[in-house]
């Protein structure tokens, strides 16, 4: 695959190395001459000096035959424009933008960017995992199907302890898929399964029903 990376910062540098190791044809576009020189010195001629938002630079990089363009500069607006120029001018099939502000995710989607990666959201998600008191953790987002897999712990003292699953008023579109009660022993929940304190429930839900699912499971 021919992949163009915009932005030779830390992320762009390691991304380029990883993609080269996987055997892809990679070209990194970086504005700063010294950074470009250092990268060329280390990895060979994989770096083009220029502004990745400019049509002329992208034409020189052979963007017309690129399979993918990944914009990872530190500025959301630069990543947006690089991806839009690649997509609408050079018809690159897949464009990926890094975003700093997690709120830009919906805006970028609406403006035609295929994939956005928000380091802020990823770090927040990981921290969420490390905070044990947090009652709901996101395990996985299946974006194209509009679903997410979440992990909900039944806190001690919940009014739902001792109730069966069918007694709970769960949102219709959420499905409980597993209950983990003891280590290494997952069970599939049934209508008559009785909830216990400390139960870990793995559920699949659309993001908009997440709050309803959480309050139905955790109780008061």
């Amino acid at each position: 695959m021919y992949i163009i990376v915009i932005g030779g910062g830390r992320l762009g540098y390691y991304l380029t190395r990883a993609l080269l190791d996987e055997g892809h044809e990679v070209l990194l576009i970086e504005k700063s001459a010294p950074i470009c020189q250092a990268i060329t010195g280390e990895m060979g001629s994989v770096c083009l000096r220029g502004d990745g938002c400019e049509t002329t630079t992208l034409a020189e990089a052979g963007t017309g035959r690129a399979d993918m363009l990944i914009a990872v500069t530190g500025d959301d607006e630069d990543n947006l424009v690089a991806c839009q120029v690649a997509k609408y001018k050079f018809k690159v099939p897949r464009t990926i933008a890094r975003i700093r502000n997690p709120k830009n995710e919906t805006i970028f989607k609406k403006l035609g960017i295929d994939v956005t990666v928000s380091s802020t959201s990823i770090i927040l998600e990981h921290i969420e995992h490390e905070v044990p008191s947090h009652p709901l953790m996101h395990l996985l987002t299946i974006r194209e199907k509009g679903l997410e897999i979440v992990d909900i712990k039944i806190p001690p003292g919940s009014t739902n302890i001792g109730k069966t699953i069918k007694q709970l008023s769960l949102p219709a579109e959420s499905i409980l898929s597993l209950i983990i009660r003891q280590e290494r022993k997952p069970t599939v929940p049934k209508a008559d399964t009785i909830l216990q304190a400390g139960d870990q429930v793995i559920a699949i839900t659309p993001p908009e029903s997440e709050d309803a699912l959480r309050s139905a499971l955790i109780g008061d």
Binding site: D76, E77, L80, V81, Q84, V85, N101, K103
Partner: protein, 132 residues
């Protein structure tokens, strides 16, 4: 009409002044409060400190009721992004943005943005001066 001007540089401040004098409701938005020194003392509009790429700041500036949005910061990409947010997210009826780079301007006008490239306009003006 209610106009939001993002970027209170020379052009932004001048435009704000002209529209304000004609009785329009003008809000200028800039992320550097020092830029507002360019507004005249009798300016009746609003000068708001904030980032025009941030939805919250735009809402505070009243973008939901705005009739027009103008993006004239120093950065082409900032202008392009803000103009697209105004047009596609907030459905502002009239959106204009400045793009210095003529090639980038061509692309975004193809994509439906109303854009002005001072580079092209000014070069043309200079050429006419030389020929006249």
């Amino acid at each position: 009409m209610k106009v939001i001007i993002m970027g209170c540089g020379r052009v932004g401040a001048q435009l704000a002044t002209l529209l304000d004098r004609e009785g329009h409701s003008v809000t200028t938005l800039d992320n550097d409060a020092y830029s507002f020194r360019r507004l005249p003392p009798d300016f009746k509009g609003e000068a708001l400190l904030g980032n025009g790429l941030d939805e919250e700041a735009l809402k505070k500036a009243g973008i939901e009721e705005a009739d027009a949005f103008v993006a004239v910061t120093q950065g082409d990409n900032r202008n392009v992004m803000a103009a697209q947010i105004a047009k596609h997210i907030f459905n502002v009826p009239k959106v204009v943005c400045r793009i210095y780079d003529p090639l980038r301007r061509d692309l975004y006008s193809l994509l439906g943005l109303e854009t002005i490239s001072p580079t092209t306009v000014f070069a043309q003006l200079l050429k006419e001066k030389l020929e006249g």
